[in-house]
């Protein structure tokens, strides 16, 4: 009796459990399965993208070299108020830490590591530390400051101690300051670097400006090409499309090298100019290993990224719209401006975004053809990661680049609206 009443209230599945429950179970299982299917991608993104970027952000702020090398001193020096010199007890700990570090020679915890770290802040002070550490074991009694000064006069410089206090803190802004051509002075206040040593901000501006120029040139060239592709009969446009895609499929290095062969002083273009008598043999034009070469080859390499989104959008615009506009009396130009162009904006927006973001982080082409004045910020980052081994500075520069891109993207979103993008 009760059974019957229940079954009339609640719908049940074939096995007697309520249908709702059964349904929820099935959906849950399906959701779980869907999640499992996306798992490889999620894991891939976490491992290859989220973690490295997180690590980079962290590294640009966190540099524990000082406290790794001289753990006791790192703790003691923080008590110093910055007046006069640190007390002799603190300096004694410093001398002991140096001697221990020199004896152990553990990777990442050597005097050399500390010396390199301080040398970023006070150029030319590297040997002060290696030299002092060699003799630190022999200093057995105070006053320790005098003993250090006897080894090297530079220990008299209070800035060395102020800097030591700063670099033995694990979290630091030094690398962001360096990446924006700034530094701490003796009084711990932030000042701009000497004019002769300012490099990162000028190069960053140049990178942004060259990327904008490259994007603009790509747009100017790609728009008519995409228009042609989308309006020509299929046979012809397919052929032209192959001409667009063929370089797109060719290796980046090959294309860049081809430009070197084209543009260099003894290259094809210069030879043709000389042959035609435009320029004398003595006055061959320098078109590569400078900003010109970088712009020319990058425009060529990035062109398909502009053409393809434009093409895919233009393909969907029915020709009858233009005809309708003209039949209502619009001139060719007005019809284009008021009817055709606005409909291509999603394609333009996507193309511009793609090309600009690719250009701003471009590395290999400027490295090969950039010469002296065509280098971009990515080349400086690579230099710090690969050559100078100042990974924290490289990370700070990378983070700044990331932030610049995000800010520009945000502005772009406000102006164009990301919903309006159409990549193809």
């Amino acid at each position: 009796m009760t059974d019957a009443a229940q079954s009339s209230d609640v719908l049940v599945a074939y096995d007697g459990t309520p249908l709702k429950q059964q349904l929820a179970k099935t959906t849950r299982r399906m959701k779980f399965r869907a999640l499992l299917l996306t798992m490889p991608l999620v894991l891939f993104i976490i491992v290859s993208f989220v973690l490295p970027i997180g690590d980079m952000l962290f590294r640009s702020l966190h540099n524990p070299t000082g406290s790794n090398v001289a753990p006791n001193f790192a703790e003691a020096i923080q008590k110093w108020d910055g007046e006069d010199y640190p007390s002799d007890d603190i300096i004694k700990i410093f001398v002991e830490d140096l001697a221990t570090a020199r004896k152990n020679r553990e990777v990442g915890k050597t005097v050399g590591n500390l010396a390199t770290r301080v040398n970023y802040e006070i150029p030319g002070s590297r040997s002060l530390f290696t030299k002092t550490a060699r003799r630190a074991g022999k200093i057995t009694e105070g006053p320790y400051l005098d003993a250090l000064i006897k080894i090297d006069k530079k220990w008299e410089n209070k800035n060395v101690w102020v800097t030591l206090k700063r670099v033995t803190r694990d979290y630091t802004l030094s690398f962001y300051l360096a990446a924006t051509d700034r530094k701490y002075d003796e009084n711990e206040s932030i000042v701009r670097a000497d004019e002769l040593y300012r490099i990162y901000l000028p190069i960053l501006w140049k990178t942004i400006w060259l990327s904008a120029l490259i994007t603009f040139l790509c747009f100017i060239i790609a728009y008519p090409v995409a228009y042609l592709l989308s309006t020509l009969p299929l046979r012809t446009s397919n052929l032209l499309m192959i001409l667009v895609l063929l370089p797109f499929w060719t290796s980046l290095l090959v294309r860049t090298s081809a430009w070197i062969a084209m543009l260099q002083k003894e290259g094809i273009l210069n030879n043709v100019f000389v042959y035609l008598g435009f320029i004398g043999d003595e006055h061959r034009i320098q078109m590569i290993y400078n900003a010109t070469g970088t712009v020319i080859s990058m425009v060529h390499i990035l062109l398909p990224f502009m053409i393809l989104p434009l093409y895919s959008v233009m393909k969907t615009i029915p020709p009858s719209y233009m005809r309708a506009a003209k039949s209502m009396g619009a001139s060719n130009f007005l019809a284009f401006r008021r009817v055709y162009f606005p409909q291509t904006i999603p394609g333009i927006a996507a193309g511009v975004l793609l090309v600009f973001i690719l250009a701003i982080g471009y590395y290999i082409t400027p490295a090969l053809v950039g010469g002296n004045d065509g280098l971009l910020i990515s080349n400086l980052i690579a230099n710090h990661i690969q050559r100078t081994l100042n990974w924290s500075l490289g990370a700070a520069l990378g983070t700044i680049l990331l932030v610049v891109v995000l800010v520009l993207y945000w502005i772009y979103n406000k102006l164009v609206g990301v919903d309006n993008l159409k990549f193809g």
Binding site: G112, N119, L196, R198, E266, Q386, T388
Partner: protein, 362 residues
Amino acid sequence: MKLTKLLAGSAIGLAMVMSTSAANAAGELTVVSWGGAYTKSQVEAYHKPFIEKTGVKINSEDYNGGIAEIKAQVEAGNVTWDIVDVELSDAIRACDEGLLETIDHSALPAGADGTPATEDFIEGTLYDCAVANIVWSTIFAYDSSKIADGPKTMADFFDTAKFPGKRGLRKGAKVNLEFALMADGVAAKDVYSVLETPEGVDRAFAKLDTIKDDVVWWEAGAQPPQLLADGEVAMTTAYNGRIFNAVAGEGKPFEIVWDGQVWDLDLWVIPKGAKNKETAMDFLKFSTATEQLAAQASWISYGPARKSSAPLVGKYHNQDIDMGPQMPTAPNNLTNAVQNNFEFWADNADQLTERFNAWLAN
């Protein structure tokens, strides 16, 4: 069932991979050097006789200098390079940072004449973690078929009015600043004391400014002879051995100007935790022995780091060219020469590189 089969299969596979790699590790050595004519000279003088003597299989790898790879390998705990040929300032820095094995100098073989190694090596060529094999030099050279009455001094190199044409320089601050000062009239022995002052650095950059628009920058050691041969530059700085090999090996009409040469050392180092450390040490001892260093000099014009090797240096391996006068250390070549000051560069490389890059970009 399936799973266990799979597991068993992969376990066997893994075991095989591991056993083969273990077997190889017994008699293998990875030697890393600078490539080109230089590595060839080492293969002829060191590798071949060492393989013959010990049967060890040598993998020769090329790199472009710097300690980035050594640092990455040591910090990751996976050291695949056993012995590496590095520049002095890099050897010192890597040693300071604990990336290298220390080397016991007393274990090095005595010279052919019985002098203990510590006395046989030229002063300043033995370090805690590094043993020098050769002395090399950065010089400048020109094509004598194109400039009849060629340049004689470093000042001529910077004189584009007297000797028109492009100049090739290594892209970087090191050595170029020394050259600039010497061209500006600083004596070789005073170069670093001048360079240690801010005014000295300004003076060097000011001198570089005078030829900035005429410079073609090179990066790899193989480039300068090519630039000269192609007529891209009228004269270029270069490593002396590369120019010598272009002359002796390819018959190029290049002339070396030794005035103002900056000489430096190449040294063997063993990265900390190298897989074949013992073999690497054997190789180091073998290759820095008197005969091997002298033999290398018959393949490239770099000077041996041992005194006892000097009298054994003979002729170029396939031609009648006396190698002695071609060495950076030959007395005639040393009249106005300076040794690269590793301490100065270890201290100032970061800052001066930054300034150099800023100077270049503007």
